[in-house]
């Protein structure tokens, strides 16, 4: 009971902070419209901070009220779909990363696959890297498959982010997104410990779960 009261106090504090930011940056009619949408999101159990951030982004970019409302509605729909895809117990960070992945064209099946690999751990970073790769022109199917392979091999989140950065660097120098991801993933997989090997000191050849060119 004591913790529930603390949660209520902390929650109210966070909401108050959100309101203060919105009040400072939005005119009264826009603020009222945004708060209404945030209430809807809260009633659905969706994270509200991504909506506050989108409203603040609209304010900074001097978007009219209608544009801010449209942007928030779109983001709320994606958050909703993300939560449905990832599961009701997913963290706010996972749901937000899933929404960003949906935003750039990652299908729900691919998001569901990543959740299946990590049913209890956060998938925020794998989803973020997947979204990055797809936004940079890597075919969705290829990017999803590669990220899934790496997750199964126990890649760290830092390694995954570095992979996304390396692929972007290759693309910037003229490499094809698909070819770059192929090469970088194979290189990274070769560096990862074979599951079950002692101390991870035994490096593998290209593992059998990595897709091969026909």
């Amino acid at each position: 009971m004591k913790y529930a009261a603390l949660f209520v106090v902390l929650g109210a504090g966070a909401l108050g902070a959100q309101d203060a930011r919105l009040a400072r940056r939005l005119d009264a009619p826009t603020q009222a419209a945004v708060l209404k949408l945030i209430d809807v999101a809260r009633s659905r159990g969706l994270p509200t901070e991504p909506l506050v951030e989108k409203a603040l982004e609209g304010a900074t970019k001097r978007a009219p009220r209608e544009a801010i409302e449209r942007a928030l509605t779109r983001r709320m729909d994606r958050l909703q779909l993300s939560r449905e895809t990832l599961g009701a117990a997913s963290s706010d960070a996972d749901v937000a990363a899933g929404a960003t992945a949906l935003e750039v064209g990652v299908p729900t099946d691919a998001i569901r696959d990543l959740r299946a690999i990590r049913p209890t751990r956060s998938v925020a970073v794998p989803l973020a890297v997947l979204a990055e790769l797809v936004a940079h022109g890597v075919p969705v199917a290829k990017a999803s498959q590669m990220v899934a392979v790496l997750m199964r091999r126990g890649v760290s989140e830092g390694q995954l982010v570095a992979l996304g950065r390396d692929v972007q660097g290759d693309i910037a120098t003229g490499a094809s997104p698909e070819a770059s991801l192929d090469v970088r993933t194979r290189y990274l997989v070769a560096m990862l410990p074979v599951p079950g090997a002692n101390n991870g000191l035994v490096n593998s050849a290209i593992p059998s779960d990595l897709p091969r060119k026909p």
Partner: protein, 355 residues
């Protein structure tokens, strides 16, 4: 009346120029100074700043000569900047100045200056002072100034207000307002102020100045300025009404051509102890700002170190973040190494993955 014009120039070692941000103005002026006839003059100004913004040197010179008289004036300012943490900056410097007219002894002045600036988001407050001497008519007097001010900068607009008290062979108090707007290809500035002098009558006077520059190319601009300046006891310069036009040459390309002539800036984020260090590499840029979901979409100016600009962040949550950067007040950009995504407002943002 036949005028013969002379230009005073200052030189710097060319071997250093590549490491420095150098601007040279050369032009003509029409001016009226107290007790002297209206005349034309040639002007020059030189600004040298190192790429790391650790120090700067600024100087200007003006010379005019007619059948009946000649005048010359010059001022040089050297300043060292020392950041203390992310919020405090300390400056120290020296100022030397001289004004001479034919058939009169020159007036010279020299002083040391110190100033502290406390930064808070887009705003700052500052306080400082100087001590020195003024030599006039064969005698000298101590020179003391104290000053305080505040400013605010948002996007390309800078506003500042200040007040100072000067005690030399005369005493006065100044108040001033300054506005500057810097866009990709042009710059505008305006300043105005009022002075109260306690030991002369009438004791109150006002002044105002405007200036503008239009960049014809990444390295060449046309500049113009005009207005009324009151006597500057700290530099020995009499009150002056003036109008100038000049050609400005920069040794380094101005950033409006950044997108066309250089690679777009790239952004990286690394762990730095318990915090994260966000770095933007933007060679040739003078100012880089970032806004992102983790700044509440408030533009934040990054701290320059050489060709890189950085900021330390409290732990940003793992996952996907949206960011945009801006160089020298230009358009908001997606960093070159980040994937672009629609922002739902008709623009683009960069996707940043944080482990």
């Amino acid at each position: 009346m036949r005028s013969r014009l002379a230009l005073l120039t200052l030189a710097i070692p060319t071997s250093l120029a590549a490491q420095l941000d150098v601007r040279l103005d050369a032009g003509a002026a029409r001016l009226s100074q107290r007790s002297l006839p209206v005349r034309s003059a040639m002007t020059s100004a030189l600004t040298v700043q190192d790429a790391g913004r650790a120090w700067s040197v600024w100087s200007s010179a003006l010379a005019a000569r007619s059948d009946s008289d000649a005048t010359a004036q010059g001022v040089g300012v050297a300043t060292v900047f020392m950041p203390v943490g992310n919020r405090l900056r300390i400056e120290g410097g020296v100022v030397g100045a001289a004004f001479g007219a034919s058939r009169a002894l020159p007036v010279t002045a020299a002083s040391g200056t110190a100033r502290g600036q406390l930064l808070a988001g887009n705003a700052w407050i500052e306080a400082g002072g100087s001590r020195g001497r003024v030599w006039r008519m064969g005698s000298s007097a101590p020179l003391t100034t104290i000053s305080a001010g505040a400013g605010w900068r948002r996007d390309a607009l800078t506003l500042a207000a200040g007040a100072s008290a000067v005690r030399a062979d005369t005493r006065y108090r100044d108040a001033s307002l300054i506005a500057r707007l810097s866009r990709a290809r042009w710059e505008l500035g305006a300043a105005a102020g009022a002075r109260h002098t306690s030991d002369v009558s009438p004791g109150d006077a006002t002044w105002g100045e405007v200036d503008a520059a239009w960049w014809l190319s990444p390295r060449v601009a046309l500049a113009a300025s005009g207005g009324r300046a009151l006597e500057d006891a700290t530099r020995g310069v009499p009150s002056t009404r003036y109008a100038t036009v000049a050609v400005r040459v920069a040794l380094r390309s101005r950033a409006w051509s950044h997108a066309a002539t250089r690679e777009r800036p790239a952004l990286s984020i690394e762990m730095h102890g318990e915090q994260q260090l966000l770095t933007v590499s933007a060679a040739g840029a003078q100012r880089v700002e970032l806004m992102a979901d983790f700044t509440g979409w408030e533009p934040v100016e990054l701290t320059q170190t050489g060709a890189s600009f950085s900021m330390t962040l409290a732990r940003v949550a793992a996952g996907s973040h949206h960011v945009a950067i801006r160089v020298d007040g230009g358009a908001w950009l997606v960093p070159a190494n980040l994937s672009p995504a629609d922002d739902d407002f008709g623009g683009r943002v960069g996707l940043l993955s944080v482990p």
